[in-house]
Amino acid sequence: MIRDELLGVGERIVKRGLEKGFDEVAVRADYYDAVMVKFANSEPSVVQSWREREVGVYVSKNGRILGTSGSVESLGDVEAILDKLSGVADKIPESMLYAPLPEPSEISFMDNLVDDRVLGVVKDPSDVSELIVEAVQRRPIDYFAGMFEAAYTARALVTSKGARLFEDGTYIKSYIRAFAGEGSGQWSLGSRRLDKKKIEDMAETAARYAVEARSPVEVEPGVYDIVLSPMVAGNLFNYVTRMASALSVLMGMSIFASKKPGDKVASEKLTIIDDPRNPELPNSWSFDDEGVETYSKPIIERGVFKTLLHNSKTAAKMGGKTTGNAGLLSPHPWNMSIPAGDRDLEELIGDVKNGFLVTNNWYTRLQNYVEGTFSTITRDAILIIRNGEITGSAKKFRIADTFPRILGNIEALGKNLYDIYWWEVELPSRLPYVLVRDVHTSKHTG
C-alpha cells in the first residue's frame, strides 16, 4: 500500500511538473514510521514517535536547476510551489552544474532490508527499553543515559526519464552512556536488523568502559600513539568520507581538492569504502536519487585515493561518470566501511609503548578543510597504555592534528568489526579499532 501510494505521489508530481513546462522532473517520496526512547538518569526521559510522508522534487528548465520539498499531505502546497518555480526558472541563470538526468538503468535490488522484529518494536518498544535498563546495570555503574530508535522507512523515485522505483527497509539505532565514579563509557549500534544480543553487548561495553575509567588522572599533552576505538575512528573518518563528495571538492571543503585518483593519501593499511550494498548497515539502498544503481566502492584503497563520489551533474562538470551517489541535489556517501586488519585489540594495545586507547570523542571542528587541520575533544573512557599494557585512565584532552597526517600514520587495524551509528557518527559505519602513531594532542593551558 505504501509502495503504491508513494509511487502515485511521484507520478502525480512528475506529470504536474511536465505540464508546467519543466524539461525534467525527479520526485522522491519517503515514508518514515519510527519510535525513539530516550533515557536519562537510568529512566526514560521521553518516548517520541513519528509517522510521516515527505516528498522532495528536482526540476530543470533550460539548464536551470530548482527544487522543492514538503509533506505528502500538503501536496497542493507542493504543487503551488512548483507553479511558482516555473515562473522563477526564466529569471535565474543556467546552473553551472546542469547535466541531464540519466536514463533509467536496470537495478539489482538487495533482499531482506526489512526485519519484521524491528517492525514489532516500532509498534511497542517497551521490551527493548527494559532489556537496555537491565543490561547496562549488570556492572557496578552509578547511572546511565542514552537512546534507542526503531524505524521503518520506504522510498520511491519517479523521474520524467521513466524511472519508477521503490524500496523499503528497517533500522535500529542506539547508544548508551554509563557513568561510574568520575568515569564514563559510551558505545553505539546501528543495524537494519534487531539482534538483542548486540544491544546487550553495546550496553555492557558502555558500562565496562565506565567502570574501567572510574578514577581518571591528569596527563600532559604531547605526541602519543593512540588506539582509536570504532566510535572515534568512525567520527574522524566520516569527515574524510564526506570530503570525497565531488560537491565538497567544488565548494572548497575537502582535503581531496588537490588530489586525483591514484595519489597516495593514507597508510597502505587503510581502505575506506562507500558501502550502499551492505544490507546490514542502516543506509543501504539499491538506487540513488537519479535512479542509478548504487554500488559499493573504495574511496581510499590500501592508502591510494580511488574514487570521488559523483552524481551525473558533478560527473559532467569534473569529467567522469556518476558513481550512484546522487541526492536530489548533491552527491553523498551512503554507509562507511573500513575492512578489518589482522590484530586483536590486545595486540594493538600491546604495540603501544606510551599512549592511550581513546574510546569516544565529540565536537570535531576544522580550522581548514582543504588542509584538513582539525581538533576534537575526547569524552568518556581514555585508557592509559604504558609498555603495551593498560595502566589506568586519563582525564580529557584534545586530539589536534591534520587528517592527512592521521591517515598517513595508521599503523594497524583490529580484526573485529563494530557497527556504529550515533550523534557523532552520522554516517552508519562498520569498522575496527585503529592504531595511529604520533598523534598530536592538546589541552587547556590554565
Binding site: 518516548v47 515527505e54 535565474i92
Partner: protein, 481 residues
C-alpha cells in the same frame, strides 16, 4: 495559516484530555525556506521548501510522550495523540521520578516579527545579482593569492506556530528570517590556504542586506587573508601574554561556556548521552565563576534578533535571563519540567525547531554585557599581547569546562599598538580561567548568528551570540602547528 489548523490543535488537546492525560500540549508548526546557492558567482540552483505538521506532547502516569504528524486531519491528530499516550503509558513503570511541570502564568497572545522590506519586494534576478557581485568584488581583491572557491547562499524563511496547552496557553506567532552564508578559500600554493565560514542571520527582511554590508567588508577581509598567508608570524607561546578577545569569539565563548552549561535540563543529566552534562551542579547558584566584569545575558525578546520570540513552546512569556551576573552564576535556563524539579518558575527557554521536535531547554540570544571603554583604551596598556578577532576551529568538552578557539585574523599587540598579523594562535582555557581573567570590556557590542544544535533527534534552532571585545590578562597561548 488557516483557522482549520487552529481547530486541529484544539482538537488534539481535547483528545488528550479525553484519554485521561495529566497534561497535553499541541503545536501547529510550519517552516518555509527559499534558498539560492552560488559558487564563484555562478548559480548552482534554487530550492524552495516547507514542512508543516502538528506536534503533541503528553504527561501520562509520570511519563512523557511526544509524537508528531503531518496528516492534518482530525484522524491524523487523534492518531498522533494516541501514539504519544500509549508510548508514555507503556514506559511509566520504568519511571523512578514521575515527571511533572511547573504551574505558570501562561500567554494568550498573537505576534508577528516585523519586516521593513518583504521577501517579495526583491526580485529573484536581484537576489542572484547580489550573490554574483560578491564574487566579482572578492575575486578581484587579491594580488598574489587566488580565491579558489566562494560558496554563497541566500536564504529567506518564515516560521509560523500556534500553541495550545491543556492548562490554558494559546499563542500564535509568525517570524520571518533572512540568512546569508558564505565559505571563502584563499590560496597561495607555496604558502597554503586560509578558509573562512561565516553567516549572517536575523529576523526581518531584505533591509538586512544593507546592514550586513557584505559587498563592502568581504573584499577587505579577503585581502587580509592574503596578508595572513604572506606576512603572518608565529604568535608568542613561550610565556603568558594579554589577549584581547574579539567580540566574534566572545559571542561564541558565552554561548558555549555560559549558555549551554546553564541549561537546567543539562544540569539534571537529561542530555548526558548527547551534548553532555554541565560543570554547573544543581546547587551552584551563587558560585563565583569570573571577575566582576563578567555578566552574561540571554534575551529572546531582542527585536530583529535571530533567536527572537515572545512566548516559548510551553506558552511561558519570555524575558531576559541573567545567567552570570558580575562573575557569579546567577540563573539557569528553565522549561516547565526543570522549573518543577528546582521548585522555581520557568523562564521560557523551551524551544522546538519544527513540528518533529519536542520542546527542550534552549538559548535564544546570548551576550556578554558591554562596558564603556573604547577598543583603543582596551589595548593601550598591553605591553605584549595578541588580539584575536575571528576564528575558524573551536570546541568545548561535554561539561563545558575546557574550551579552544583557533584564531583566524589575529594581531600582535606591542606597547599598546597593533603590530602585524600572527597566524593560527589558539586560546585554550577552562571556563573559569576565561571569565576570571577578564579585566576590561569595551562598549562595542555586536551579535553573530548561529544554529545551535541539541536534542535527539538533533534540533538546530536559530540563535544570536555576541558581546564586546574583552581583555584577558596573563594567558598562555598555543599555536596550530
Amino acid at each position: 495559516m488557516t483557522w482549520e489548523m487552529e481547530d486541529l490543535v484544539f482538537h488534539a488537546v481535547k483528545k488528550g484530555e479525553e484519554l485521561g492525560v495529566e497534561y497535553v500540549e499541541a503545536r501547529y508548526h510550519k517552516r518555509g525556506t527559499k534558498t539560492i546557492i552560488t559558487r564563484n558567482g555562478g548559480v548552482l540552483g534554487l530550492q524552495s521548501s516547507f514542512d508543516e505538521g502538528i506536534a503533541v506532547r503528553v504527561l501520562v502516569d509520570g511519563a512523557l510522550g511526544f509524537s508528531s504528524t503531518e496528516i492534518l486531519t482530525r484522524e491524523g491528530v487523534e492518531d498522533a495523540v494516541r501514539r504519544a499516550v500509549d508510548n508514555a503509558r507503556r514506559h511509566s513503570s520504568l519511571m523512578k521520578e514521575p515527571i511533572r511541570f511547573s504551574e505558570e502564568r501562561l500567554g494568550r497572545a498573537s505576534y508577528t516579527a516585523a519586516q521593513r522590506k518583504g521577501f517579495d519586494e526583491v526580485s529573484d534576478e536581484d537576489k542572484v545579482s547580489y550573490l554574483a557581485e560578491i564574487w566579482s568584488k572578492v575575486s578581484g581583491a587579491v594580488r598574489e593569492a587566488r580565491v579558489a572557491a566562494l560558496m554563497a547562499m541566500l536564504s529567506e524563511s518564515f516560521e509560523e506556530k500556534v500553541l495550545v496547552t491543556s492548562d490554558g496557553a494559546y499563542v500564535r506567532s509568525l517570524v520571518p528570517r533572512l540568512s546569508l552564508g558564505y565559505n571563502v578559500v584563499v590560496t597561495i600554493p607555496s604558502k597554503g590556504t586560509i578558509q573562512r565560514w561565516f553567516s549572517h542571520s536575523a529576523s526581518g527582511g531584505y533591509e538586512l542586506l544593507d546592514e550586513w554590508g557584505v559587498h563592502d567588508y568581504l573584499p577587505r577581509d579577503v585581502e587580509t587573508y592574503e596578508k595572513i598567508l604572506l606576512e603572518a608570524r608565529k604568535p608568542p607561546t613561550d610565556k603568558p601574554v594579554d589577549v584581547v578577545v574579539g567580540s566574534e569569539i566572545v559571542g561564541l565563548v558565552v554561548h558555549e561556556s555560559c549558555g549551554h552549561p546553564s541549561e537546567a535540563d543539562r544540569i539534571l543529566g537529561r542530555e548526558a548521552a548527547q551534548a553532555g552534562k554541565s560543570f554547573i551542579k544543581p546547587d551552584m547558584r551563587g558560585y563565583r565563576i569570573g571577575s566582576e566584569h563578567a555578566t552574561v545575558i540571554d534575551d529572546p525578546t531582542i527585536p530583529g534578533s535571530n533567536g527572537f520570540y515572545l512566548y516559548d513552546e510551553e506558552g511561558v512569556p519570555a524575558r531576559p535571563r541573567y545567567l552570570y551576573k558580575e562573575g557569579v552564576i546567577n540563573e539557569f535556563l528553565h522549561n516547565r519540567w526543570t522549573a518543577a524539579v528546582f521548585g522555581t518558575k520557568s523562564n521560557a527557554a523551551a524551544r522546538a525547531n519544527g513540528f518533529r521536535g519536542e520542546p527542550i531547554v534552549r538559548m535564544a540570544n546570548t551576550y556578554f554585557k558591554p562596558g564603556d571603554m573604547s577598543f583603543e583604551e582596551l589595548i593601550e596598556d598591553v605591553k605584549l599581547g595578541v588580539y584575536m578577532k575571528s576564528y575558524m576551529e573551536w570546541n568545548i568538552d561535554d561539561e563545558r569546562w575546557s574550551q579552544r578557539y583557533g584564531g583566524l585574523e589575529a594581531y600582535l599587540i606591542e606597547n599598546g599598538e597593533l603590530k602585524g598579523l600572527v597566524k593560527n594562535p589558539v586560546l585554550e582555557v577552562t571556563t573559569k580561567k576565561f571569565y576570571s581573567s577578564v579585566d576590561a570590556v569595551d562598549g562595542n557590542l555586536r551579535f553573530y548568528a548561529g544554529t545551535c544544535g541539541k536534542g535527539e533527534p538533533m534540533q538546530g534552532v536559530p540563535v544570536w551570540f555576541g558581546g564586546p571585545d574583552v581583555r584577558l590578562r596573563n594567558i598562555m597561548l598555543r599555536v596550530i602547528a
